[in-house]
Symmetry: C2
Subunit: 337 residues, 2 copies
DNA sequence: CTGTTAGCGCATTCAA
DNA sequence: TTGAATGCGCTAACAG
């Protein structure tokens, strides 16, 4: 492997001079600089970032830990983070926890030994607290993305889940629905709790009593066999609309509704949180859309500020707005717009 | 930061003994081992992989370079690669070239300085050759994924593009279509060339003359404004079916067809290469499906064998089968099944 | 403007 | 079974 010493020897200078040329530090004569640069070219020199990292105590690597790489929301977050990191001179080490605490722990260990400069962390659940404390104990800055973790203070970038949920439900109410079900993600995830709160708010604001039978807790990733849906349909007074906790729940829901011959929106309105790729093909779902790309971008920005110390000590809390997009999966009960 | 020296001091042994305990090398008494391990726990010791890498000359990091992280095909490849890498004790550094040679070059430089142990490379185009030669010059093993690059010999994992395309087109022919258009990706990408070859094969096998007017070259990522489609529709004898080069082209195509009031499959059949997430919601597209997860998995396996030298010198060429899945976007001309 | 010294944290080699 | 010496490739701090 070509090292700065190989370059130095060929250029008749010291290794230190080469290092200075590489890093643009110190004073170097133009002539020396040009010569060194030329020889670096000739010899295909590439700095060894491990050696450098050992000295400088930084890797210029950020880690992005997301719960589900197949979900377009998180894919878009990743794109935003990647672009921002690249721009700021950082590499991105991806991790996919699959909503699993065990996998998340493996990644935390990896992150620790890799000595990444910081972590963008979208927690698998409330139980992720210990993982974050491990990071903190080791002095690794992190920014919480999308999901808050109780008992953990830090910089955060999150969406306005409560407000978004409220908008979605009030949209349904405005259409004339009174029996509105919520099929939610696990309440061990902060976003699910906030969406539930928004749901309740909307009902209260419109004097609709809360019916616990209409509120289901599932998870964001797998919809299951439809048993939960059947329970809703068997109620004496079944819902005329469903608010799905996220995009994947909505997808599962639609599929099960189709299997049962229930039309959307004629027989049942369905709305959800987060965009679906499907909407490219067929603008169908009424959703609350979050600026996923910006989640990643802002997260990286906050993280790098924290790493470099170019920010004030208090934690920054960024809340990104969510936007109601009405499409054709919601209609008045009975299917009339 | 806690180092092996801190552990050594507290355990009244030498740093070397600690190192041996960590790596399970050499002979260590059970008593010493237990004591060292306990103190490592107490002090929250985590090995510094940079320091280790500097000595061992390996990082245990693989890099995965894909052209489009938003395409579910590549997302699934990533999942397969991630799982396999994890299993084999490697980390995965993702890169997203966005089908851009410039971005790809940036990633190659990054990969070089990070001293990753190997690269899974899905080339942006035929022009990626120099990037691969750079990797080879630096002695970094790589496996080509999905796309071959002319003039570059290496291990590869690819799909059976020609055969897949043939199956898709013969399916259309069997339905009664004779005017079949191909809206393809850039011919600077090997998969597009092979899909074209399969298209031609199918026509020839069925004595249908090739009409160059029916063959369009676009790209895999952006469908554009529909001008290309209009050109097809304005032909004296327009196509009754379109074979889209990949999933995103199919999506764009469908959208533009809808805008023009052309129904699928009644007025126009559309089939494509690669699955779409949409199919979860609504099994609609007739596709040739490739085992994306296995692309990643097999790629990592080949790569690690190459890195460890546990394979024979000749290049391994793995071709994964593609499967025709008939759904409702294809029908006989006029729309009758 | 340029070079010398020292050390980042670890594993390999060899000696005890 | 354990440990001392050495160096991986680089840069910070200082000296010339």
């Amino acid at each position: 492997m070509v090292t700065i010493y190989d370059i130095a020897k060929k250029a008749n200078v010291s290794a230190m001079t080469v290092s200075k040329v590489i890093n643009n530090t110190g004073k170097i004569s133009d002539k020396t600089r040009a010569k060194v640069k030329q020889i670096m070219e000739e010899m295909n020199y590439v700095p060894n970032s491990m050696a450098r990292g050992l000295v400088t105590q930084e890797t210029k690597i950020l880690s992005l830990l997301i719960p589900d790489i197949t979900n377009p929301f998180f894919t878009t977050v990743a794109r935003g983070a990647e672009d921002a990191a690249m721009r700021l001179g950082y590499k991105l080490l991806f991790g996919n926890s699959d909503e699993s605490l065990a996998k998340e722990k493996e990644y935390v260990d990896m992150v620790l030994s890799t000595r990444v400069d910081g972590v963008l962390f979208s927690a698998a659940s409330d139980e992720s607290g210990p993982h974050l404390q491990t990071l903190r104990r080791h002095g690794i800055p992190f920014v919480l993305l999308d999901r808050e973790v109780p008992g953990v203070e830090s910089d955060t970038v999150s969406g306005d889940n409560k407000e978004g949920a409220r908008k979605l439900v009030e949209h349904l109410i405005a259409l004339g629905h009174r029996r509105i079900a919520l099929v939610n993600g696990s309440l061990a995830v902060s976003t699910a709790r906030e969406r539930l709160a928004g749901y309740k708010d909307a009902l209260k604001l419109n004097d609709i009593p809360l019916d616990e039978n209409l509120v289901l807790e599932m998870n964001y990733k797998y919809f299951g066999d439809g048993e939960a849906l059947d329970k809703l349909l068997r109620l004496d007074s079944p819902p005329t609309a469903v608010f799905a906790g996220n995009n994947f729940i909505a997808l599962g829901l639609i599929r099960k509704l189709r299997e049962r011959g229930i039309r959307v929106p004629e027989d049942m309105s369905v709305v959800c949180f987060d965009e679906l790729d499907v909407s490219v093909l067929d603008p169908f779902f009424t959703v609350v859309s979050q600026p996923a790309y910006q989640f990643g971008e802002m997260g990286v920005r906050l993280l790098v500020e924290r790493i470099k110390g170019t920010t004030t000590p208090e934690w920054k809390k960024i809340m990104l707005p969510s936007e109601l997009i009405v499409r054709s999966s919601s209609a008045a009960p009975g299917g009339n717009k």
